[in-house]
Amino acid sequence: MHGLINKSIQAFLRANYGQRLWLQVAERVGFESEGFEAMLRYDDQLTEDLLQASIEALDKPRGALLEDIGAYLASLEPIRRLLRFGGEDYWEFLQSLDELQGRGQMTLPDLELPELTLRTERADRFLLIVRSTINGWGAVMTGLLRAMADDYGALAMIEQADTADGQEAVQVVLLEATFNEGRRFELARPVGGVR
């Protein structure tokens, strides 16, 4: 598994629950190093163990935990900015998700992002189908899409769903693409880099 994914989980735990909880989780999975390195690879099982240990330590259902991780990712300024390149408003952003995997791989060819397909069911109703060898990306995307709706200032109802053939999916009902102003986004990177 790409270190970026493990490091995201680590950063999420530290930011939302503190260093002590992270150390507790690291202890449970027998991870002895100071922390994950975003640019190294780790054994796939370690990611699964990490999630399992977090679920136990926080006493939180898997789906809810993964949604929170998705929301956390979208709150990180570098990631938020990269996602905002997807489009001018939330509708365009949704349309751009088909390319998310490709965009990710353009930067990090070995990053295991899910394959996303947006199906328009009605004018205001979308189903984002999430295909991945790793179970749980549907929940992560649900949290991420909710956070990005806030970021764009869109009014939307976003829930985890499943397709008829059992694929993970996210149901999006877009009530208003520009409900309020949303957060600022300028194409030019802020001087001094993004933190």
């Binding site: 390195e37 975003a38 640019m39 190294l40 570098p78 900015r81 990269l82 390149f85 489009g87 001018e88 965009r103 353009m106 930067t107 990090l108 300028e186 194409l187 030019a188 990177r189 880099g193 993004v194």
Partner: protein, 350 residues
């Protein structure tokens, strides 16, 4: 005769393609009349050139043609027959534009149509002119380029931070591997490496050096009477004294229980080495207090000098320093002896 159908369609298309439609398709288009004045331009270009009256302005007022054909004046003739062009902005010469050009009307009777875009200076232009996504045609790859540039910068930052962390870890592992944990001075391994380096350096014209073997006298009795904790404290004290009496460029190493060695770079004066040895011994003989108790030790020193050898080796120099140390002990301890130059030259033991 009836006009052919395809031609009619072309006419209809041309009539329908007003500046607004052109601007939507090509936000950076520029239409010049045959005299080289701006007839129309796309919204992004007008944002970049503005404010001020742009329509009717001469091309040269705002742009400079890069690599214009020699001897041709006027933009129309300079662009004649070209398809790719490169321009820079008069107001911002560092920002270059590139694009394509096409004739409007037969023989450019209605002027020239230019479609421009930013080259490699895209990111600067976006910052400089406050451009947004709507300033680029959806078919333009500008957004992908900006995205990629930013993603790449983020990944590079992460990699740079990783490299720094790895380098720090490497340095501290290295220093741990070469440090005596009790006293904090170099260990045997570090000493061996440094001695090898000095000897190799001699072959390349490097500076001479002296190797001093320092062995504590009466240390065992301190250990026996005051305990190991006192012994450890004493060894730390010895290491501190040795470091204080040598220079930063010298090396102090602990190579055995109560054995230290010094590598003294640039030292070749026998008298000065001798007095250094005696000074060290005098300081080590100062009373040492541990809690309520006080004890005294001394030290014997043997020194070998690299200039005494034609081709010094670590083994021979170490053996000669040892022999000089043994001589110090035999002469009653608490002394410093130098391996004799003639003995070293003859390969004998002092």
């Amino acid at each position: 005769m009836t006009v052919p159908c395809a031609c009619q369609n072309w006419l209809r298309l041309a009539r329908g393609l007003g500046p607004d439609a052109l601007g939507q398709l090509m936000p950076m288009f520029l239409w010049l009349d045959p005299q080289g004045r701006i007839s129309a331009l796309g919204p992004a270009l007008s944002k970049i050139l503005g404010p001020g009256r742009l329509l009717g302005a001469r091309f040269e007022q705002h742009f400079r043609l890069r690599c214009a054909r020699a001897g041709r004046s006027g933009v129309a003739s300079a662009l004649d027959g070209r398809r790719r062009i490169s321009l820079s902005l008069r107001a911002r010469p560092e920002i270059t534009l590139r694009g394509s050009v096409a004739d409007v009307g037969m023989g450019a009777s209605d002027g020239l149509l230019l479609n421009l875009s930013f080259g490699i200076h895209l990111a600067e232009a976006v910052r400089e002119f406050g451009l947004t996504e709507t300033d680029f045609a959806p078919s333009d790859l500008a957004m992908e380029l900006l995205y990629l540039q930013e993603a790449k910068a983020t990944v590079l930052n992460e990699l740079r931070a990783l490299t720094v962390r790895l380098e720090d870890a490497r340095r501290s592992a290295l220093s741990e591997a070469q440090t005596d944990p009790l006293t904090g001075v170099a260990n045997r391994r570090a000493f061996d490496l440094a001695l090898e380096r000095l000897i190799r350096g001699l072959g390349r014209g490097g500076q001479s050096f002296a190797l001093a073997h320092v062995d504590l006298d009466y240390f065992k009795s301190v250990n026996d009477t005051l305990g190991h904790a006192a012994g450890d404290q004493l060894l730390r004290n010895v290491a501190r004294v040795l470091e204080e009496e040598t220079r930063r460029s010298d090396l102090v190493a602990r190579v055995g229980g109560d054995e230290f060695v010094l590598l003294l770079r640039g030292a070749s004066d026998r008298d000065r080495l001798h007095s250094l040895g005696e000074r060290i011994i005098a300081r080590l003989e100062e009373p040492f207090s541990y809690g309520e108790q006080t004890c005294r030790i001394s030290a014997s020193i043997g020194v070998a000098l690299s200039p005494d050898y034609d081709e010094p080796t670590a083994e021979v120099m170490l053996a000669d320093a040892d022999a000089a140390l043994y001589l110090s002990k035999r002469l009653g301890k608490g002394r410093c002896s130098l391996a004799s130059a003639s003995a070293a030259a003859e390969g004998m033991r002092a």
